[in-house]
């Protein structure tokens, strides 16, 4: 049974509908990531779960209890804000203990609880400081401590890493992941960063313009995006979108002078002849011969002119160009080529997904 249910949530602000009927289920101990571009409604949805912004219609259910009309403090949730929202006039200890104090927990018990959380987060030496005396990463930890100390039913995170620098972000991301694994907490996490979504989530919800685009595990979202938007939004560099036309023997790519590749195995349905399609292929599915997945069954070799070389150290991204269409491939760092030269790329069609350009949806 699902622990957190979001039932047909709609939110109108003025004449604009921010959320257009959202339905999501999350099991106990799950890590739900709401991801999408700015303005997609993900923060609005989180605020609705928190009770800070009541929805226009629909229900929020936590552990079988409808909490839609409950005050935020009565929902047994804790929230970590983007700005951390630490009380500037209180010490770290007072910050963490505040929620317990408001709930009438006795002083001795509060102290014990705070010490324990501080130990978990390794901030014991900071307890007497004020937020202004802490670094960004330390503030982040205190904010998490404030949420942890209450042992709430659901944790809500509102873009908690976006104010940290790149290195710290990776560190704290790992800490949040470890925290989830160690405590088994149920978490709803908002981010616009698709890497955060992939690394942390047990379940990802991709939102766009107030509508759910796809719900699924990170692998499902990544490998079988439901539509062109999800395919483009998740993954970096973005998925290659190659225009093609269904022919007798397969799908013709790169116009009249191009090649015909077999229909990818992800498509089970018979495609009508002459239909325009878009083949989505991630950069790591287009490689040099040395990096071809030995278990792959459907490989097509296509020669293309190299128009850009981007070494990352571990591997090199090549941009190939055929007949005006270009694509990004991920090759070994050892590959030797030059701009303008022709290069033989191996397309792993096992990994390809096919989209209908008219509806934007995936064709199965």
């Amino acid at each position: 049974m699902s622990f957190l249910e979001i039932r047909n949530i709609r939110k109108k602000i003025g004449n604009i509908e921010i959320l257009k009927g959202i339905d999501i289920d999350l099991e106990k101990g799950g890590f739900l990531v709401l991801v999408g571009p700015s303005g997609c409604g993900k923060s609005t949805l989180l605020n609705a779960i928190a009770g800070l912004l009541p929805p226009s219609s629909g229900d929020i259910v936590i552990d079988g209890q409808v909490v839609t009309d409950l005050h935020p403090s009565k929902r047994d949730i804790a929230m970590v804000f983007q700005s951390y929202a630490l009380y500037p006039n209180m010490t770290v200890e007072e910050n963490i203990a505040f929620a317990l104090e408001m709930r009438g927990v006795e002083k001795a018990q509060r102290v014990t609880a705070v010490r324990q959380v501080a130990k978990t987060l390794q901030i014991e030496h900071l307890l007497d400081r004020r937020p202004s005396q802490l670094s960004g990463g330390q503030r982040q930890r205190v904010a998490m401590g404030r949420a942890l100390v209450r042992q709430p039913r659901v944790f809500l995170f509102d873009e908690p890493l976006s104010n940290l620098d790149a290195k710290l972000r990776v560190e704290v991301r790992a800490e949040i992941k470890a925290l989830h694994q160690n405590t088994g907490a149920t978490i709803v996490y908002v981010t616009h960063d698709q890497i955060e979504a992939m690394t942390l989530a047990t379940k990802i919800v991709v939102l766009k313009e107030g509508m759910v685009q796809q719900v699924g595990s990170p692998a499902e979202i990544y490998n079988r995006p439901a539509n062109l938007f999800v395919a483009d939004f998740m993954g970096s560099p973005a998925m290659n979108m190659l225009k093609g036309r269904v022919a007798e023997t397969g799908i013709a790519l790169f116009g009249s002078n191009g090649v015909v590749v077999p229909v990818p195995p992800s498509v089970t349905k018979k495609l009508p002849d002459g239909k325009e399609v878009i083949i989505g292929l991630r950069p790591e599915a287009i490689t040099d011969d040395g990096l071809v997945d030995p278990t792959a069954r459907s490989i097509a070799h296509i020669a293309a002119e190299v128009s850009m070389i981007e070494p990352t150290g571990s591997d090199t991204f090549l941009t190939g160009k055929v007949d005006g269409a270009s694509f990004t491939a991920r090759t070994r760092a050892e590959v030797v080529t030059e701009l303008g030269q022709s290069f033989r790329f191996a397309f792993n069609l096992d990994k390809a997904v096919v989209f209908d350009p008219e509806t934007g949806s995936r064709i199965d």
């Binding site: 928190a50 009770g51 800070l52 005050h71 935020p72 403090s73 949730i77 804790a78 929230m79 804000f81 983007q82 700005s83 951390y84 929202a85 630490l86 009380y87 500037p88 006039n89 505040f98 929620a99 408001m102 709930r103 004020r130 937020p131 202004s132 005396q133 802490l134 960004g136 503030r139 404030r146 104010n163």
Partner: protein, 297 residues
């Protein structure tokens, strides 16, 4: 100061930059002296004897300083027909100013809190009307206010004056606090709500402790205004219940015999002392930066 030479770029030599700086400081010092001159005249005159005042130079230092005029102004000078000095009126003013400043500041803070963090439909109109109240001239409300005080049984009392000053000050104090709390991060209020704090707890525990600078500004502003007010004092009180400003006027204008300039000046200094005191004391607490670092960005 060491920055003076550095800020002067290549085209200006360090020497001429320093000359310019001297000129600026000299001008500022001269202007400050001009500004302080009346205070100097008040103080020196209050320490002189009447003979010396009549015969001499207004700017000269007293030959034989004496605080006799101060003692007389405090305890013996005649205001109207009673010759008991200004001390009673001084306390009248204190009894009026302290509650009026306290109540109007507290209510202003509450108003600002509600208008920024607990917005309700029409909050703009309410704030607009309060702002409008700031710009109604004192004279326009005198007669309606007198009727109101009479009806409430508060005419010619300190309580009545407190009431008038609270009502009149509310527009300004609300404006101050609203603008200050407008910049106060909403996320802190949301966090406190989730933590389980209610309307007043959030106010007492989160907002008020971080409002130091604006409280000081409001208190200085309100204290100065209310203490220095003459019009409301003279309109809504009389005789024994008058505040200091009215008593000072009565003292200076009701001379029956010789005009005692030294006593007048001493009384005027007494009238000015509390506001000076508030500036000196509260100014020290005018420290910003408590909010720094609470919220990044």
């Amino acid at each position: 100061m060491s920055g003076a030479a550095e800020t002067a770029n290549g085209t200006v030599s360090a020497g001429s930059a320093r000359t310019a700086r001297y000129f600026i400081y000299a001008t500022l010092i001269v202007l400050a002296l001009v500004y302080l001159l009346p205070l100097y005249v008040m103080l020196t005159t209050s320490l002189k004897s009447l003979d010396e005042i009549r015969g001499g130079d207004m700017l000269a230092l007293p030959k034989d300083p004496s605080i006799a005029a101060w003692v007389k102004a405090w305890g013996e000078a005649c205001i109207g027909v009673s010759c008991v000095g200004i001390k009673g009126y001084f306390w009248n003013s204190i009894k009026m100013v302290v509650p009026a400043v306290f109540i109007s500041t507290l209510l202003g803070a509450l108003n600002g809190y509600v208008l920024t963090k607990w917005r309700f439909p029409g909050h703009r109109i309410v704030f607009g009307m309060m702002l409008f109240a700031c710009f109604i001239p004192f004279q326009a409300v005198l007669i309606p206010m007198a009727r109101l005080l009479g009806a409430a049984g508060m005419s010619n009392s300190t309580a009545g004056l407190v009431f008038v000053h609270v009502v009149y000050g509310l527009g300004f104090t609300t404006l101050f606090f609203r603008n200050y709390y407008e910049a106060f991060p909403d996320e802190l209020v949301k966090a406190a709500m989730i933590d389980g704090a209610g309307f007043f707890r959030i106010f007492w525990r989160i907002l008020l402790p971080t409002s130091g600078p604006i409280i000081v500004v409001t208190v200085i502003y309100q204290f100065t205004n209310i203490w220095n007010d003459f019009l409301f004092g003279v309109s809504f009180s009389s005789g024994e219940a008058s505040p200091m400003t009215v008593a000072l006027n009565n003292l200076v204008s009701s001379s029956t015999g010789v005009k005692e300039y030294n006593v007048d000046m001493a009384a005027a200094v007494f009238a000015a002392l509390p506001t000076l005191f508030v500036y000196v004391v509260a100014g020290r607490y005018f420290v910003r930066g408590l909010m720094a670092g609470a919220v990044k960005g």
